[in-house]
Every structure is written in C-alpha cells, then in structure tokens.
Symmetry: C2
Subunit: 231 residues, 2 copies
Amino acid sequence: MKDNNHNHDHTCLVTVPIFNHLELEELNQITDLIRSKKYSKGELIFSHGQKSDTLYIIRKGQIKTYYLSENSKEHILRILTPGEFIGELSLFLNETNNAYAEAMTDCEICTIKKDDISKLMEVYPNIALKIINELSSRLKNVEKQVSWIATEQVEVRIALYLLEQVSPTQIEKIVHLNMTKKDWASYLGTTPESLSRKLGLLEDKNLIRQIDNQHILISDYKGLEDFSNQV
Amino acid sequence: MKDNNHNHDHTCLVTVPIFNHLELEELNQITDLIRSKKYSKGELIFSHGQKSDTLYIIRKGQIKTYYLSENSKEHILRILTPGEFIGELSLFLNETNNAYAEAMTDCEICTIKKDDISKLMEVYPNIALKIINELSSRLKNVEKQVSWIATEQVEVRIALYLLEQVSPTQIEKIVHLNMTKKDWASYLGTTPESLSRKLGLLEDKNLIRQIDNQHILISDYKGLEDFSNQV
DNA sequence: CGACGCTTTGACTATACTCAACCCGTGTGG
DNA sequence: CCACACGGGTTGAGTATAGTCAAAGCGTCG
C-alpha cells in the first residue's frame, strides 16, 4: 500500500488504549508490525462471511459495524471512533465475521496481523488485559442495547439513549449524535419514520428540543428520566 | 462456607475451558485460590448494581442472566452451563453489574477473587487468551441476538433460533430447549402468548412439531430455512 | 443546477402486545 | 392419597404500537 508506515510514527499507537501503557522503546518495536491504511467514506472494511486474520484499529475517522438480516435490513451494532478496534472474532476465535464494517467518513486504520498480536501479547501481558477490558465493555453495551430493544417501546428507548449520552451534572445537556437519524433508528431497532414521529412527541412534551439533525437538547432532564421510568 | 474445597479436587478446574490446558502441578497451586459454593434453584447469584470482585464459574447446574427493565420486565440474556463464567464486568472493568444472575437449577459454582485471577493471568498468559476467546464468543452471540430482535419478526426469530440449534447433517433434528417457554419468549424478545401462537403457525405449515414443552422436532429443515429467508 | 440520500408527514395496516380465562402438570400439605 | 395451590402454557378478543408505502421537503455534493 502506498501509505505504509515504517518511519516510527507512534501517533497510531499512543492513541490506542491497547498500547498506551507501553514505553517508547517498546513502541518502536511494535510500530514495524503495523500497517496504516486509508479508507474513503462508504468503503467496506470487511464484510459478512469474510475470514480475516487482521485486527483493525481506528486511527482517524469513524466507522460503523452492522448486521444484514435475511430480508437485507441493516442493523447498526456500534459506531467506532479512534482508538477502538474491530476484527476480534476472526482474530481470537478463528471464525468468520458475521457483521459488516463500513467507513462512515474518510478513515485511517491501523492493521496488525493475528500472529503479530499473539507474539505481542506474550511479551506484554498488559495488552491482553486491555483487550479484555475493551471486550467486557462492549459486551456490557450490547447487552444493554438488546435488553432495551427487547423490553422498552421506541419512545422510551430514545429517552434512555439520550439520558445516557449526558452526565447528570452537565449544565448544557446537548446530545451530539455521531450518526444520521437513519442509522440511529437502526441502532435503536426501529425505523426512521417512527424515530421522527417519537422525537416529535418528546418535543411536544417539552422534554427535548431538536436543534438540528445532529444535536438534541434535553430541556427537562428530570422529566425525561421520569418518562423513561414510568411508561 | 461449609462446602469449601481445599482437598485438591480438580474436577472444578479441568472442566473449565479457562484452565483446561494447565498441567497437574499447576492446577494444584490454583485449587487453593478457588472456593466452591452451592446455590439452590431460584437463588440469586448476583443482582443489578452490585459490585463484586469475584469471577463465578459454573461447575454443575444451569443459571440464567437477565436484565430487568424500568417497568420490571425481565429480558433473558443467556443461559450458562458448566464451564462458563460470569462476573467479568466488575472483575475487569471495575464497574457494577447491570444484570441479574439466577440459578435455574441447584448449582455448584466455583468462585475466584479478582486479585487471584490477575495473578494467575500473569503467570499463565494462556488464561487471558481463553478469557478473550470466551468474551469474543459471547459478543458474537449477543450481537446476533440483538440483530435478530431488531430486524426480524417473531416467527422468523423462532425459526432462526431453532435452525441454529441443530447441524444440517444431523438426522433427527430435535431441539432440546434448556429453558421454559416463558424464558425462551423473553430471550427472543417477545411474550409467551406470541411465542405460543407463532409456534402454532409454524406447526400448521408443517415445518416443526412440538413434542413436549422442552422438545421441538424440525420436520422440514429446508422449508424452515426458506421460510426464515423470505419473510 | 440537478441528483441523490436523508428526513418528515400522512394514511393505512399488520404485527404482536395486553388482559383475561382456562388448562395442565407438579409439588406440597393435610 | 387426595386436594389444592402455583406457575407455566394456551386460547380468545380487543387494541395499540409501530411498521409500510408514498410523497414531498430539505441539504449536500458533484
């Protein structure tokens, strides 16, 4: 690839939680194992059924992973931002990926081969720990996602999602959506039409205000909490 | 506890994927770190919000983990059988559990303290690898579960679940449910009533036959596949 | 400027949920 | 040993939520 990266540029590594505890000398050794690759918006990084032996770490940009159902409806699993990785399934389980990964913006992605990461984990046991942390965290998130979709109705899911994006102490409670409403609807397990309508209802109740397509103001935090607890 | 286990009984360990690659001498050292505890049917092993520093490994019996939604509807996340573990959230992330774990049958469960497992991982790096494998596998499963619930309608979810439980080469395609239909409905993100009705419809189409409450025969595998692909 | 994709709104419909009653099997206690 | 209670499972009727399809507005990018 034209943009291989062999000049000991650590910007890829130090921003990655998996590696950010390592010393400079250690980073130098690792850098040689890593390739950097650019993807443009809309490009697929891997697709369903593909068996890859590579771990992908986001360096710049944003990507989404999604499932494609039998009747080809896509369901967004998660949005990844710099520092996060994908590809752990084929990497650690030796199974095929069952999801798709697509660049939402132009991206720069570091790749490491399965064999190399195995070697690294032997030398630096902390890397394994970091990976375990990351996987645990993702597990927690998906479990929450599935339980919301399974038990709550759409309007409540929206409320819960918004509440989660801000801290109770935050003064200006503005949620910045890092995806389109179409993707958001998919993530919440609903349709764009329903999402649009339910957002309207929450606005009518004076709980939120839609600033633009990417920003939503929680105008009544307490009220939104009450709503999500009693419906 | 009256049933602590300090007599170098390895039956707990060798059946556990995390440890089954270790040598006998190594097992001896580890056994001392492990407590065995009995739970009776219906007992809670941990509950939402609880911060535990313990990893629980199922030795005998079966347990289920579930979420409780705001309006107190439970959603089954997974059924655990011997060899599997829970508690990794508070263990590796130092966060509170957000799920409940309950014994479905009388159980025997091995517990290891957070600090001890950390030490073990330093000495035996393979343990970390096994944990990564297990977490990856669970991640894959939950991601599939959430995508099914988000995109497929109930009848298709049932079909997909059944298809997944048997191998295409198996002659007698009988699915043994290791849970009640009530729990199954919850796992599939629906209600017992809907599950009952949809199972009836699948039976009317001659795709399956309900033998009893725990056993379902797939009488037309190909037909069931076609059904799940085109609805 | 035009095309494309996202978003919204409207009208209609269908899926699946709720509530209620009833059936059944199991386990407990008299 | 029988009676009963309990929880799981099924069936029925009615309804509500949210999905579908269609059209039109809007914003962005080439």
